[in-house]
């Protein structure tokens, strides 16, 4: 079944590289993104932001702004306070100011909203608002924030005596400590994964459209989770009359999300409040500097990582102690039982018997952090720690890193595998993936080349990462966000002429759901994918779901689509039995029809049965052919892969060039190979980015020094390698289609492969670790330190 399509190209079920159905509008410039929405009488919001990372607001003077041409209103924290809307919950049940009434807690924090008749007039209004600040001491270092005696930042929290956002731990501390005490070999490495930003090409924004006559609020919004947002809005603003039946959230075409469009940012709420107060539509579109300075930061983990092993290289225990910088509030979009996300996947692909991990999360004067960067809840951090420490161990043991991995992999016969930190890995074949990657890249020959180059003084490195991902949250018994269970949904309706509309609780931001979901329906029902219209993102029409992030769409909503289609197939069978005048058990399904067993000439196609469902259905049966499914996965899916990077380092400049990169991925059965390859290319590039280029940097006063694309470097086509892909197919045993999520695997797997390659290139000089991003400056300094470069 592996990727040999069962259906014809005309039907294009699973395994067909169908050209995307969404593309005809995009290549004509006819996409409909939020900033393209233009409503009659629409006003514009622009936001006054704090230049200080921590300050008292002594006064906000709005009179000059209100006199500026086109400015209609200035909304401040005091305005919102009259409606009790100046605070809101974060997705991690922490609290966050919408607009401040007395104190700002990070540079670029929203201070006031200016409403005007045009974008330009609103910007003029922002310039004219006068805010008098009294600067306060700033803490940007999480270690200083957690030190005894540090000034308490969250004075809004009654009785709060420190800057600890939360403490979390997993595993058996005593047993792990014992294993370390008894180990032949112990290695330890401090690893820092800096704060980074998804920087989707489209920034965040919305058009809030409140109708005073009906009390209806429509919000067009850049959100990956429209249903959850609707519920959150109702919970926040129900007391002022915005109850859930009156709120419609529409997520139109989204120009990339990567997790950055999951949270509810203050700008959305200010626009909604303005629309409600003024009674006209209000558009808010953040500019890139606001985007890079205020929203959607990820990572910022300081991980002391240790591994214990026997002399012969059998890993025995893993211990990681993390200090996590969450900024001003804990705004992670994490499931509520998992404050550190799924970090406990940190034992990775290895059969470790002991592990313990703990985390202290700190509040600092940075914008809210902990939002994802194309990653399923902190898996990137976990994978980086285990894949780096594995290489540190290999160096210590003088073992080849591939051999060390092979020796310690969970073996195919051990699946389903219960990890020591509590996960049940559904399926995997790690040795096969690594072997394929090694064969594809020519590992042995590269090692030989490296030896020759070293002899000539050239710097070349080879790095491996054999990662295990955990995606598709969740089973609802364990996974919820703000109490809302993490199932997902599909509703399929077959029209009399045999065409279909299918709606889902997720929301594509470029993943190609309109195509792949249609292919799932085509696979199950034999209706050509081109005849299946897929819709998402309108809370008035789509069934409730938790949205698209954490590689969960295929594992949850995709599964719901398959199950809903099977419900339709079951009803169609009854209709077929009636029309063919046979018993249901005399029928068998073939691609797109029910046929009489042994006489396939006697059959009814899905199109015949759809027409009959409305025109000639059996007496006593309800008319119509449709089904809904809310799918609650029994487990997560565990995609995996092995990546190998080859880097060359310029001794003069310290520049790292990724010469080759082979990525072998396994995401189970593939729905659309073209789309999956595209996702992997993109994910790898978003793995390369933080490995070599991207970092959000703050100075001691809390100023973001990387607040434009001139300073925060996204890879271009010149820096991005020509990715070489390979695949193995190990189906998920519990997913109805045998599929797993894939969009984030490469972002998770690529950074340690590149970091390991760089360290490998410099190992003979005595270098044992480099934190990412591995910039030319960092490498140049190391080369100088080790006497290679003047």
């Amino acid at each position: 079944m592996a990727n040999t399509p069962r259906t014809s190209a005309a039907i294009s079920g699973m395994g067909h590289s169908m050209k995307r159905k969404e593309d005809p509008r995009f290549i004509r410039g006819q996409g409909n993104y939020v900033d393209d929405v233009k409503l009659p009488g629409m006003l514009y919001l622009d936001i006054v932001r704090s230049p200080y990372a921590h300050a008292k607001i002594k006064s906000i003077k709005t009179d000059k702004a209100l006199k500026a041409p086109g400015v209609l209103a200035v909304i401040t924290g005091e305005t919102l306070k009259t409606y009790n809307l100046h605070w809101m919950p974060t997705l991690s049940s922490d609290t966050q100011m919408v607009l401040p009434t007395d104190t700002v807690m990070y540079q670029s924090q929203e201070v006031a909203g200016v409403i005007a008749t045009s974008r330009y007039a609103a910007a003029d209004g922002v310039e004219a608002v006068e805010v008098d600040y009294e600067p306060l001491p700033v803490i940007v270092d999480p270690f200083k924030a957690l030190a005894p005696g540090a000034a308490v930042l969250r004075t809004d929290k009654e009785g709060k005596k420190d800057n600890l956002a939360f403490h979390w731990e997993a595993g058996d501390r005593a047993a792990t400590d014992k294993a370390f005490a008894e180990a032949d070999v112990v290695v330890k490495q401090n690893i820092y994964l800096p704060r980074i930003h998804v920087a989707s090409m489209e920034t965040c924004g919305c058009v809030a459209d409140f109708h005073p006559g009906t009390g209806q609020l429509n919000v067009y919004m850049t959100t990956q989770a429209p249903h959850a947002v609707r519920t959150v809005l109702a919970l926040v603003a129900g007391h002022v009359g915005l109850t859930e039946e009156k709120i419609r959230v529409i997520s139109p075409d989204i120009g990339g999300g990567f997790g950055g469009k999951v949270p509810v940012y203050p700008g959305y709420v200010i626009a909604i409040a303005a629309s409600v107060v003024i009674g006209k539509p209000v558009k808010w579109i953040e500019d890139r500097m606001e985007n890079l300075q205020a929203d959607s930061f990820a990572r910022d983990y300081h991980m002391v990582t240790e591994m214990a092993a026997t002399k012969d290289g059998t890993m025995t225990a893993l211990r990681i102690k993390t200090v996590a910088d969450h900024g001003y509030t804990n705004a992670s979009a994490n499931p509520s039982k998992f404050p550190a996300g799924l970090f406990s996947i940190c034992t990775g692909s290895y059969a470790l018997k002991h592990a313990f991990t703990e985390m202290d999360a700190a509040y600092t004067n940075k914008p809210p952090g902990g939002v994802a960067y194309r990653c399923s809840f902190r898996v990137t951090e976990a994978v980086h720690a285990v894949e780096r420490i594995t290489d540190v161990l290999a160096a210590k043991l003088k073992m080849d890193p591939a051999e060390l991995r092979m020796k310690n992999f969970i073996q195919p016969s051990q699946f389903p595998y219960k990890s020591v930190l509590g996960w049940e890995y559904d399926s995997g074949d790690y040795p096969r993936a690594l072997k394929l990657a090694m064969d594809k890249i020519g590992y042995a020959a590269l090692r030989k080349e490296q030896t020759e180059k070293r002899a000539k003084g050239e710097l070349m490195g080879i790095g491996i990462s054999s990662f295990t991902e955990v995606v598709g949250a969740g089973p609802s018994r364990d996974f919820d966000i703000l109490g809302i269970k993490m199932f997902d949904s599909a509703e399929i309706r077959i029209h009399p002429t045999g065409k279909a509309i299918a709606r889902f609780g997720t929301k594509s931001q470029g993943q190609g759901h309109e195509t792949t979901y249609a292919q799932i329906v085509a696979e199950e029902l034999g209706i050509p994918a081109s005849d299946v219209q897929v819709e998402e993102g309108d809370t008035d029409t789509a069934p409730y779901g938790l949205g698209t992030y954490a590689s969960r769409s295929t594992p949850t909503a995709g599964a719901a689509g398959a199950i809903a289609a099977r419900k339709i197939k079951a009803k169609a069978r009854k209709i077929a039995a009636y029309l063919l005048e046979v018993g249901e058990d005399e029928l068998e399904w073939s691609v797109d029809r029910w046929q009489v067993k042994g006489s396939p000439d006697q059959h009814k196609t899905i199109q015949d049965l759809a027409f009959a469902a409305y025109t000639n259905h059996p007496p006593g049966m309800e008319a119509g052919l449709e089904a809904v499914d809310y799918y609650d996965p029994p487990n997560l899916t565990f995609p995996f892969g092995s990546y190998i990077a080859v880097v060359d380092i310029d001794k003069g400049t310290g520049q790292v060039k990724v010469r080759r990169f082979v990525a072998v991925d396994d995401c189970g059965h593939i729905i659309n190979p073209l789309v999956v390859e595209g996702q992997i290319h993109g994910g790898l590039t978003m793995g390369l980015a933080p490995a070599l280029f991207e970092e959000i940097v703050y100075d001691e006063s809390g100023q973001n020094l990387t607040g434009t694309l001139a300073d925060y470097l996204l890879p271009t086509a010149v820096e991005s390698p020509k990715w070489e892909l390979g695949k193995t197919v190990t189906p998920s045993p519990h997913h109805p289609l045998g599929a797993k999520g894939v969009g984030e695997s490469p972002t998770v797997g690529a950074p340690p492969a590149i970091a390991n390659a760089v360290v490998d290139a410099l190992w003979h000089l005595g270098v044992r670790h480099v934190d990412i991003p591995i910039t030319p400056e960092k490498v140049w300094r190391l080369l100088r330190q080790h006497g290679v470069t003047d």
Partner: protein, 156 residues
């Protein structure tokens, strides 16, 4: 603020407008002319989402004033398809899966279109250099390069 009367020919059709001196070309196109295919991705000329052709040359319309386009020819994504027929670059992007979220795509296609006008058979390196002023966050560029090669082959 004094208004300036300008005439800009967009995709072969002359448009007149009275604009503020500070109005950006991208806002003229998107808001005054309702051509929303040209997108805005940054404010600093780095991302290229707003790329249009000004007298045939790719420019970033977020850093050109509308008044600077007075009397000039502008081509936007809406001008690529001719007589109901996709331009080869559009077809290349579709066939080779050169887009995902679609946000960078109009600018990316116009830069590529201009490249193919001056270089009918660009090498992979030439393509990568040519599009290096256009950022894409979804595709990793591999399929964008293939899309441009697809278009080049179709026009050969």
């Amino acid at each position: 603020m004094a208004k300036h009367k300008i005439t800009v020919t967009v995709n072969g059709t002359a448009h007149e407008a009275e604009v503020d001196a500070r109005l950006l070309l991208v806002h003229l196109l998107r808001e005054d002319f309702s051509m929303t295919g040209t997108h805005i991705g940054c404010d600093t000329t780095h991302c290229g989402a707003c790329t249009v052709l000004l007298d045939g040359e790719p420019v970033k319309s977020c850093t050109i004033l509308a008044v600077q386009a007075d009397g000039h020819q502008v081509m936007t994504v809406e001008g690529l398809e001719q007589g109901g027929k996709l331009d080869p670059i559009q077809n290349g992007f579709w066939q080779e899966h050169g887009l995902q979220c679609g946000f960078c795509t109009p600018g990316m296609m116009l830069t590529s279109y201009a490249l193919l006008k001056r270089n009918k058979k660009p090498s992979e390196d030439e393509i990568r250099q040519a599009i290096s002023g256009n950022l894409c966050r979804c595709t990793g560029y591999v399929n964008i390069v293939k899309a441009v090669q697809h278009a080049a082959a179709a026009q050969a």
